[in-house]
């Protein structure tokens, strides 16, 4: 199925969730995150769509004034079509429903996005940091991230300032 047909199918079924945005390109759909779990179940199980593979889940920080975003790349092994879903979160309290029961790889992908950006995936059975240590402070990939001074007594930032390094 082509991208416009898929978009029409989603718009028919969930008319209030699809947000029109001219800044995104062909192949991307921006949706509102309130019914995300229902939409995800529909995308996986509907016989015309059958998106059974979650390829990639990316978190993006769009700058100081903009929101945080989660972008899901979905692909169908049976029908060989793909689509990208964009969901925006409020910067002060980013959260959305978790889809780890629908696509099992969502478990680790969501933990990684939580670790890097602080986006909370509600309903995830075990949401904790995966790459940074458990007692790390801050969300590293956000644009306003500040390094902590020491970690268990070891210096974190660059030292040797007196020798002319940055």
């Amino acid at each position: 199925m082509s991208f416009s047909e898929i978009k029409l199918l989603i718009q028919d079924r969930f008319p209030k969730s699809v947000i029109e945005n001219e800044n995104i390109s062909e192949g991307q759909i921006e949706i509102d995150g309130s019914l995300w779990k229902e939409i995800a179940t529909f995308l996986k199980n509907d016989p015309k769509l059958l998106f059974d593979q979650l390829e990639c889940l990316t978190g993006i920080d769009t700058g100081e004034e903009g929101p945080l975003q989660s972008r899901y790349n979905l692909h169908s092994m049976e029908l060989r079509h793909k689509i990208e879903i964009i969901i925006s979160h409020d910067r002060k309290d980013p959260k959305v429903e978790s889809i780890e029961q629908i696509w099992r790889i969502g478990d680790w992908f969501e933990r990684e996005t939580y670790d890097m950006f602080g986006i909370v995936y509600e309903g995830h059975r075990d949401l904790r940091r995966i790459l940074c240590p458990d007692d790390w402070e801050g969300w590293p990939l956000r644009k306003d991230y500040e390094l902590q001074e020491t970690y268990h007594g070891i210096m974190v930032p660059k030292i040797k300032e007196e020798e002319g390094w940055e």
């Binding site: 790459l131 940074c132 240590p133 790390w136 590293p140 991230y145 390094l147 970690y151 268990h152 070891i154 210096m155 974190v156 660059k158 030292i159 940055e166």
Partner: protein, 163 residues
């Protein structure tokens, strides 16, 4: 050895106890294969068939309690730094550390924006030989190991040091 030198046949060696101890320690140090990242592959390649490490006496051991030299090969992160210290403390004296590659020496290519990278393993364990490179060639690692052997053979463990 001064007065006794060259007074005997060729099959009699004369020397001080210090020198013999250092000589026997230096010629077969067993290394603790602590491969973390890309440098670990070059360490494995050095121990394999082409640049054989066993011909200079080094044997790979997996447990710290059986090793003399710890080759820290690869980037050390904050999460791993505490474990490196623990493993170093588990080794028995006399022990030596070789820092292989630029990541273990000073943070490597990740020194500028790496929030999770330890900028040099000498912040947690004392290092004897630094081998630069990204990754260092097997020949460079062998040179570092031979320098370590030379360092060990110059130690005088029984002589009291005058400070």
């Amino acid at each position: 050895m001064g007065v006794l030198e060259n007074k005997f046949n060729d099959n009699i060696v004369v020397g001080s106890l210090d020198k013999f101890l250092s000589w026997s320690r230096s010629t077969s140090p067993w290394f603790f294969q602590f491969g973390l990242a890309c440098c670990a592959i070059e360490m494995m390649a050095t121990a394999a068939a082409r640049h054989d490490l066993e011909r200079i006496g080094m044997m790979p051991r997996s447990s710290p309690r059986q090793a003399d030299v710890m080759i820290v090969a690869g980037t050390v992160t904050m999460k791993m730094a505490l474990r490196v210290k623990k493993l170093y403390e588990q080794m028995a004296n006399p022990k030596y550390v070789i820092s292989m590659g630029s990541c273990a020496t000073s943070g490597g290519p990740y020194w500028q924006h790496g929030y999770h990278v330890l900028k040099g393993v000498d912040l947690v364990v004392p290092v004897d030989v630094y081998v630069p490179g990204c990754p260092p060639r097997p020949e460079a690692l062998i040179e570092g190991l031979l320098k370590l052997q030379q360092l060990i053979s110059e130690e005088r463990p029984l002589t009291r040091k005058i400070t």
